[in-house]
């Protein structure tokens, strides 16, 4: 199972990296922004502005990293917690089994 997950993650990484190699000279701008440009091209004026905008690209990337970190943190905590509990349960069952064997020898 572990090697299978490793393969799946490698494949996901490969699919992500491939475009950088194949179309390396592209801009890689966001598709959301491209759609906005198309709408702007039609002469549309947005009627509402964001209440707050990150003042710079650095602040924006800070908040995006925060979003990813919060999500990844909880995901890792959960999997780690369950893995630990499972191992603990396995140990308890094994030691019970050993005790039972000892008694069987009496």
């Amino acid at each position: 199972m572990r090697s299978r997950n490793g393969m799946l993650l490698l494949l996901a990484a490969a699919i992500t990296i491939l475009p950088l190699l194949v179309v390396g000279n592209a801009e890689f701008s966001g598709s959301d922004g491209q759609a906005r440009d198309v709408i702007d091209g039609g002469g549309y004026e947005p009627w509402f502005e964001p209440l707050w905008e990150p003042p710079s690209g650095e602040i924006e990337s800070l908040l995006f990293s925060l979003q990813a970190a919060l999500g990844a943190g909880l995901l890792g905590y959960y999997i780690g917690l369950r893995k630990g509990r499972r191992e603990e349960k396995g140990r308890a069952e094994r030691s019970r089994g050993e005790r039972a064997e000892l008694h069987a020898g009496d």
């Binding site: 996901a12 959301d32 999500g71």
Partner: protein, 229 residues
């Protein structure tokens, strides 16, 4: 799939908000029920939301030479049913609208409808139909197609709001689909793969919770222990 703040005419903004709202209300009720009936699965529910949090923060390059992001809503949809993701997905969108100026409050309804309603429902439907094909393949297809459906929905929403002067809604749809859908295909595959990885880990370490949610059958070893007692 984020329609930017102010980029839907007021009538459209209101209509999509009204359309998405009942799903969010149903989702709140469903979350309350899950928390009451199976409190032991609350942390897994939060983790499903966390998965959507990470994935929707990742801008990933695509073969079209542009970037887009996965949504991560397929996982929670197959585990807990689609409605819970209406709530969790909307929370993600609200975070991005308020702190990142990504999406917006006036477009929250439309964005919630595509990412937090259509995506999870398509994922759930595909999961139900494909579950005979084996767990991994069904989860993969559910997450990938749910992701694609979200971006197709965004294209439809924009085409309805901004029909092409010459070719109408159909022409505009082709235009927006060409921006969103093709870019999204490799990303949908990535999202499918990552969702399968997480489900594999859950099957290994959280089997009891998955059984409670009737996602997985009870383990054989557990049945044996019960039988021996």
């Amino acid at each position: 799939m984020h329609i930017m703040e102010g980029y839907l005419p007021p009538l459209h903004a209101v209509a999509w908000t009204v359309t998405a709202a009942p799903f969010v209300v149903a989702g709140v009720r469903r979350i309350q029920r899950v928390a009451e009936d199976h409190p032991e699965t609350k942390l897994l529910l939060a983790t499903s939301g966390a998965f959507a949090f990470v994935l929707s923060a990742l801008k990933i390059p695509s073969v079209t030479g542009s970037c887009s992001h996965p949504t991560g809503v397929g996982l929670g949809a197959v585990l807990f049913g689609p409605n819970v993701m209406a709530v969790l997905g909307t929370i993600v969108l609200l975070f991005q609208a308020l702190l990142l100026a990504h999406g917006g409050l006036t477009t929250l309804g439309a964005n919630a409808f595509s990412m937090a309603v259509v995506g999870p429902w398509v994922a759930f439907g595909v999961w139900r139909m494909a579950s005979g094909m084996g767990r991994s393949l069904a989860v993969f297809l559910a997450a990938a197609l749910g992701n694609l459906a979200t971006y197709c929905t965004t294209s439809v929403q924009l085409a309805l709001a901004f029909p092409d002067p010459a070719t109408g809604i159909g022409g505009a749809l082709v235009k927006f689909l060409s921006i969103f859908a093709i870019t999204q295909i490799p990303l949908a595959v990535v999202e499918g793969l990552l969702t399968v990885v997480v489900v594999n880990l859950l099957m290994q370490y959280s089997r009891d919770e998955l059984s409670t949610l009737s996602f997985a059958p009870r383990t054989a070893s557990r049945a044996k222990v019960v039988g021996a007692e």
